[in-house]
């Protein structure tokens, strides 16, 4: 190994712990993409990704605004075989382990809708989570305190990320529904007031018109 002047005084265990901490702090989540986009009515949007064989991927998607908050989704493997197909789903999660190497396609379709465009969020996570300690799998001794603290922090932060995303999407969707509801209540209030006035004034005018027909032998007038 290399001789490190400054750190030669550190015990071996501590150095391993430092190494683990360093790995933890730069450990990224498994690669992936998350995007939010607007899907116009009667439109379809497809995304493609080249994947190796034997890789695990997860597709999460959720409709945030628009219409009945649902969308069609299908996933195809490189051979064109449909490995996942759902219609009018609001949200779903699809994990899969690839069997073929090639370009995988997943598409979101709003073709069943004629006038509501949807905002769709999807998260495409690829790859297994790499173990955060380099030799965690073939460890003979127990983890040191620092290393188990590392593992705990890493798992907790992953949970935080998932929680945050989940709550952010739920809140966006609920707020969209509440704003729709508020708008509809306002429109209905104004509309019903107008209808009330038109109908009631119309009734009175109609009744009056029944009794104002010109007849030579009308009541009250004597010849």
């Amino acid at each position: 190994g290399q001789e490190r002047g400054r750190s030669s005084g550190m015990p071996a265990g501590m150095r391993a712990g430092m190494r683990a901490l360093a790995v933890l702090l730069c450990a990224l989540r498994a690669g992936g993409t998350e995007l939010t986009f607007e899907l116009p009515d009667s439109a379809k949007q497809c995304f493609h990704q080249e994947l190796e064989r034997g890789l695990k991927f997860t597709l999460d998607y959720q409709v945030i605004t628009g219409g009945h908050y649902d969308v069609d989704c299908y996933v195809e493997d490189p051979n064109g075989r449909t490995i996942y197909k759902e219609t009018k789903k609001q949200y779903d999660s699809f994990p899969h382990r690839t069997e073929v190497k090639g370009v995988y396609t997943f598409c979101f379709s709003n073709e069943f809708s004629t006038f509501s465009h949807k905002t769709v969020y999807f998260d495409f996570q690829v790859g297994d989570e790499p173990p955060i300690l380099p030799d965690m799998s073939n460890r003979v001794t127990a983890l040191t305190q620092m290393e188990s603290a590392c593992v705990t922090i890493h798992e907790a932060l992953n949970t935080v990320i998932d929680s945050q995303t989940h709550y952010r999407l739920r809140e966006a969707q609920d707020r969209s529904r509440a704003e729709d509801l508020n708008g509809r209540v306002s429109y209905w209030s104004v509309g019903e007031t107008l209808i009330l006035f038109v109908v009631s004034i119309g009734q009175v005018m109609l009744l009056k018109s029944f009794f104002t027909e010109k007849r030579p032998s009308s009541s009250g007038a004597s010849t």
Partner: protein
Amino acid sequence: LALYFHSGEREEKCIIEDVPSDTLVIGNYKVQRWDIHKQDFLESAPGLGMFVTVTTPAAEVLLSKLYGPQGTFSFTSYLSGEHVICLQSNSTRFVAFAGSKLRIHLDIRVGEHFLDESVVQAKDKVNEVNFRLEHLIEQIHHISKEQNYEREREEKFRKTSEETNSNILWWAIVQTLILISIGIWQIKSLRDFFISKKLV
């Protein structure tokens, strides 16, 4: 760059990013054009560029620049809310070009601060840990900013719900009053009418 999608030559494709204020958003893209002769996407078509437009939630344009076939763009949000990132090619060909489309590879990262890898490798392990700890602290600050933003949005949501609730209540009262007063007016008007017509 992993994920890609197809788009028409002059079509504008937009991505929505809901971010808190003071957040750095970095985007990487690569665009390829379909070549009819080779029946494949060319590696990098010469002269092909992409207009990148970023719009803030207040409908102001934050960034509007022309980049080459491959590029990186970034912006820092100063308002919280939905920012719209739009990509459109600068192709001057007319729309009716049969079979012409673009393949756009895209990767957008929010709130990440890049580590300077060379600085990290050079020092010994203690300083590396120190450096990475600072990076981690920055990431946790970002989590905290997101949570504050979430609190703002939930407040707005709650206000909307309460406004809807009071609208419905107020409208029910007003509607009852209108109904009663119109009823009274109808009967009065008809009675006066019949009296004047000597029917009553």
